[in-house]
């Protein structure tokens, strides 16, 4: 769905037509559900939050401002709703989802030695490629924050800048985590 199409759907929603929401729902459900379930984990909760997301989109359609890319906009809302859900239900918010750059990331980012070490490690892992490993299993090897970036990149087709805005973390951290995730997935045969 293009930004223009999304805006047209929003206009329909503002006029009270549910068709606009239906179109967005059909197009964006995989994207939203993947964002939400990546955070809340529990499928039932993910379904609840995803439903609430679309209801909220309906209720706040009048406030949508076109021009800044709807995918980043809806990702921000869905993500915040999922995190709020964790807070409300008293579940722990994984540290990885915090806006602050982890110490580990910072240390790695600024250490050339560490970068070289990762590259060497990656080469050695390529030899141990496990082709039969399903994508889901490969994704399980990623940190939640890395998985989130991969999801936004692939499902939302967001730029690194947009991802950094959605996640409220520096762009350098985003690119670092993305590269790290891609490296890990490459070991399992994914390019």
């Amino acid at each position: 769905m293009t930004d223009r199409r999304f805006e047209a759907c929003i206009r329909k929603m503002v006029k009270g037509s549910r068709e606009g929401l239906r179109e967005i729902y059909e197009d964006c459900l995989p994207y939203i559900f993947s964002i939400v379930s990546g955070i809340v984990k529990n499928r039932e909760d993910a379904e609840d939050v995803t439903s609430e997301f679309f209801i909220r989109l309906w209720n706040t359609a009048e406030r949508y401002r076109p021009g800044s890319g709807y995918k980043a906009y809806i990702a921000t809302i869905a993500r915040n709703m999922a995190i709020d859900h964790l807070r409300k239900t008293g579940r722990e918010i994984p540290a990885d989802f915090s806006a602050e750059e982890s110490k580990e990331d910072t240390a790695y980012r600024f250490s050339e030695a560490a970068v070289r070490a990762v590259a060497e490690q990656a080469e050695s892992f390529e030899d141990e490629l496990v082709e039969s490993l399903a994508l889901k299993e490969a994704l399980d090897r990623l940190k939640p924050s890395e998985r989130e970036i991969i999801n936004l990149k692939i499902m939302g087709d967001l730029t690194f800048r947009e991802i950094s805005e959605v996640l409220q973390i520096p762009m350098g951290t985003v690119t670092w985590r993305y590269r790290s995730a891609v490296e890990k997935l490459r070991r399992f045969g994914y390019e």
């Binding site: 929603m13 503002v14 006029k15 009270g16 549910r18 929401l21 239906r22 729902y25 459900l29 995989p30 994207y31 559900f33 993947s34 499928r43 379904e47 995803t50 439903s51 679309f54 209801i55 309906w58 209720n59 706040t60 009048e62 406030r63 401002r65 021009g67 800044s68 906009y73 921000t76 809302i77 915040n80 709703m81 995190i83 709020d84 806006a99 082709e131 994508l135 889901k136 991969i150 999801n151 692939i154 499902m155 805005e165 409220q168 891609v182 997935l185 045969g189 994914y190 390019e191």
Partner: protein, 231 residues
């Protein structure tokens, strides 16, 4: 053998999706029509506001006028009484005193009657004015302005209140370039979004959108007033 991450990821994310549409559809509230500023209402509202301001002012003037009249009348009566008293100076002091006392009592009674009538009229007028003012206020409370705002900032410790710079005001209700204090309607859907807060990041995102918006931004404002920076 390399596998396409993107293709397989999309395939995986699109499989085993829940069907939530019925559930969502059942929970959707009916959309209320967006209230736009009504120019039809502008006249009656202005009239009501003027009435609310002018009626008490006119009554105040009227009261001053009447009070002046009453004072003149009383002074005249007293002067007459004195003249009367002096003209009857030959008569007995007791009789003069009695007559003067009777006359004064009659004058006092008349003045009191007048005052109570005036008070009654004033009370009714004040009640009417208060009613008109309340009506005007309630009408004014439903007026929405079309304004283009920049970066509304929540007022610390004041829920639902924000300050914002007016970039454009089409209705002439506000001045472009002025900073206003605005109260976002807690009942409105949009305000709900900010009011319930959600995460801070989302508010930031909203502000960003407002800032980047080049078009005219329709903002629902329940009431607004100019914000003095010194206050």
């Amino acid at each position: 053998m390399s596998k396409s991450l993107e293709k397989e990821y999309r395939k995986m994310a699109s499989s085993d999706l829940p069907d939530l549409w019925n559930r969502i559809s059942d929970a959707l509230p009916e959309k209320k029509p967006v209230r736009r500023p009504s120019f039809k209402l502008a006249g009656p509202i202005a009239a009501a506001v003027c009435a609310a301001i002018l009626i008490p002012a006119l009554i105040g003037l009227g009261r001053k006028g009447n009070a002046g009249g009453a004072a003149y009348y009383t002074a005249e009566a007293i002067t007459d009484g004195q003249e009367y008293r002096s003209s009857k100076s030959a008569q007995s002091a007791a009789a003069v005193t009695e007559d003067a006392a009777m006359e004064e009592a009659a004058m006092e009674e008349a003045a009191m009657e007048e005052a109570s009538m005036e008070e009654a009229v004033t009370e009714t007028a004040v009640e009417d004015a208060a009613e008109a003012r309340a009506e005007a206020e309630s009408m004014a409370a439903t007026v929405y302005y079309d304004v283009h705002l920049d970066n509304p900032v929540p007022v610390e410790g004041e829920e639902n209140w924000y300050t914002a710079l007016v970039l454009e005001a089409r209705d002439g209700a506000l001045e472009a370039g002025s900073t206003i204090l605005l109260y976002l309607d807690p009942a409105g859907d949009g305000a709900e979004e900010i009011r319930t807060g959600l995460a801070e990041t989302e508010i930031k995102a909203s502000l960003q959108e407002i800032k980047e918006d080049t078009g005219s931004l329709y903002y629902q404002i329940l009431s607004c007033e100019k914000w003095e920076a010194d206050e």
